[in-house]
């Protein structure tokens, strides 16, 4: 086993060309859609600077602050989806784990321990999801749907029927997570990019990623290659819940308020982002860049509707259309095989 192959071998195995890579990349379609939308919005904004405020610092900051909210949840959901499972309970973990943090902090627990408490809630939910799904061989869709409801109501119950908690976080902590830099770059977005890089490193540089793709792509073949599929998926479930918790903590840091009222449909938004981004619902396929671009496209659509002053109820409709179109497009692209 040598460090670099002999040059004549290297020469025989060419790199796949850039065009081919984009064409065959799972995030190819969403990348094209993203670039087209961005160009169109920019051109329209340049043509109508007084009515379409797309290029203003304020709007950029708004968009970049909104993306991480469901984008970070989607990163976790995406990792798990590649490993071949779903998690709908992220919608509740997103709320309950940060609520746990706020509750602990409000009751005098040091912040670091309160954060640790939030992540231990996430890890527990992830382990329960994994255990029920893998032990009893139930579709994770159903297991985590149940957990979505259970976790959602457990937080206010345990906290004595509190509906929301206002907390005063240390200013440094709040700034590190949510400060708006240079007027248009919220720190949340940088955290999102950082976490996307972490997800990328897990999937493409860590052996766990290889196991995720194998377990999600073909469970039996993975098992035959000596991969412990149950263990692999358990780790993916836990990571997924931890990503959701991170997003929730950012949200609490931003508003200084932890609520037990769920943000509606964030778990479904996360799934939608992943599917638009080219991840397969059946597992084993997809890339982190697709999740990032999927989240960006979803938020761009919402932004355009707001900037164009269309009635609010169009928002869900357009998002729905975008999701369906995204899936159809990806299916059409993948059909080549």
């Amino acid at each position: 086993m040598t460090e670099t192959a002999k040059p004549d071998i290297q020469a025989r195995y060419r790199q796949i060309s850039l065009v081919d890579r984009i064409r065959t990349h799972p995030a190819g379609p969403v990348a094209v859609v993203f670039v087209v939308m961005l160009v169109l919005c920019t051109l329209y904004a340049l043509a109508n600077p007084t009515s379409f405020y797309f290029l203003t610092k304020g709007n950029t900051s708004l968009v970049l602050r909104a993306i991480p909210n469901f984008g970070i949840v989607a990163l976790g959901v995406g990792l798990l989806m590649i490993a071949g499972e779903f998690d709908l309970s992220v919608g509740s973990v997103y709320v309950a784990a940060p609520f746990g943090m706020a509750f602990a902090y409000a009751n005098g627990v040091p912040l670091a321990w309160a954060i640790l408490f939030a992540y231990s809630i996430a890890i527990c939910v992830g382990l329960v999801n994994a255990f029920l799904t893998l032990k009893f061989n139930i579709p994770s869709f159903i297991v985590t749907l149940g957990m979505l409801f259970i976790v959602r109501t457990s937080a206010p119950y345990l906290a004595g029927h509190t509906r929301s908690l206002v907390i005063k976080l240390p200013p440094d902590f709040k700034a590190a997570l949510t400060k708006n830099l240079w007027g248009f770059m919220p720190a949340q977005f940088l955290w999102f990019i950082g976490l996307a890089i972490v997800a990328y490193l897990i999937l493409n540089r860590h052996f766990l990623g290889n196991h995720f793709y194998a377990a999600g792509g073909d469970k039996r073949a993975a098992r035959f290659a000596g991969i412990n599929v149950a263990w692999t998926k358990t780790i993916a479930f836990v990571l997924c819940a931890m990503f959701a918790t991170t997003s929730g903590i950012l949200q609490v840091a931003r508003s200084s308020k932890a609520e037990t009222n769920p943000q509606l449909f964030i778990e479904l938004f996360a799934v939608a982002v992943c599917v638009m981004g080219g991840l397969s619902l059946f597992g084993g396929r997809g890339a982190v860049i697709g999740i990032v671009l999927g989240a960006a496209v979803l938020q761009l659509i919402q932004d355009v509707i707001i900037l164009a002053r269309l009635p609010g109820f169009y928002l869900d409709m357009f998002v729905g259309i975008a999701i369906v179109l995204g899936v159809v497009m990806n299916a059409a692209v993948q059909k080549r095989y």
Binding site: M1, T2, E3, T4, A5, K6, I9, Q10, R12, Y13, R14, Q15, I16, T24, L201, N204, R205, H206, F207, L208, N210, H211, Y213, A214, G216, G217, D218, R220, A221, A222, F224, A225, G226, I227, S280, G284, R285, Y337
Partner: protein, 261 residues
């Protein structure tokens, strides 16, 4: 790649030829009232291709499952180079028995690249678990170059689903060989392949055997078996009915044996 593992020199081969590299003795297995194997013996010598032949229901599948550690026999013993071994799990079959089984459909994950497949479950990593991607890439290229040499594989980053059946089979074989098993157990490797691809896979088996890696070729197709095997082991109704060298038999005789039992 460890050359000594593959190219055993002639004198070493002659001296070890007497002790089979792997031997299964008096294997029995019943499923309820059905006796799938009855005191069946099977052996593999270094550097040979053995054809495991027999009609449907002869006990071939049961024997393969036992050899690959998926099914436990009711009785029987296994020996690797004369020493008793336990092959009761897949891991033990691979590591202690030295057997690498290549099943037709589940050898590779189709949605993954060749490189990811080659290292699935045995990624070279640093202490933190991060893969040595550069090393993986160059090793993958060497593996493809050394054992496969099948036209059309231009990069280790190609997804397996883009390969033809023969190419995928070749990659699965190359992976198995690279991880240094003594014996490849190939279950119907040619049944889904075109004529041309079949030819290639048969050639790969032959080359591997000549380089010292023994192959067990399980097949229905007597023509394929006769083209490549050094020895034949024929099962019928769970029992050994014939074990002979190629030079001692003919295609017609093999056909007769299988037909008349």
């Amino acid at each position: 790649m460890n050359d000594s593992q593959l190219s055993v020199d002639a004198s070493a081969r002659a001296s070890t030829a007497e002790i089979p590299i792997f031997e299964a003795r008096r294997i029995s297995k019943s499923y309820g009232h059905v006796e799938a194997l009855i005191d069946t013996n099977f052996e593999v010598r270094r550097g040979e291709v053995v054809g495991l032949l027999g009609d449907n229901g002869a006990g071939k599948s049961t024997l393969i499952k036992i050899l690959s550690g998926v099914v436990q026999p009711d009785s029987g013993e296994f020996f690797r180079e004369g020493r008793s071994v336990d092959i009761s799990t897949r891991k033990k079959s691979e590591e202690d028995g030295g057997i690498q089984t290549i099943y037709q459909d589940i050898a590779l994950v189709k949605s993954m690249s060749i490189m990811r497949n080659i290292f699935a479950g045995r990624e070279p990593t640093n202490a933190l678990g991060f893969m040595r991607v550069k090393e993986m890439r160059s090793t993958a290229m060497e593996i493809l170059d050394e054992y496969v040499r099948i036209a059309g594989i231009t990069s280790p980053n190609i997804l397996v689903e883009e390969l033809s059946g023969g190419q995928a089979q070749a990659v699965a074989i190359a992976r198995a060989v690279h991880f240094k098993r003594d014996i490849l157990l190939l279950d119907e490797p040619t049944s889904a392949l075109s004529v041309r691809e079949t030819e290639k896979v048969l050639n790969i088996m032959r080359e591997l055997a000549d380089a010292g890696v023994s192959c067990v070729f399980v097949t229905h197709n007597l023509y394929h078996a006769f083209r490549v095997c050094d020895r034949f082991s024929i099962l019928a109704h769970g029992q050994n009915v014939r074990d002979c060298k190629k030079s001692e038999t003919s295609l017609n005789e093999l056909t007769d044996i299988i037909m008349t039992h």
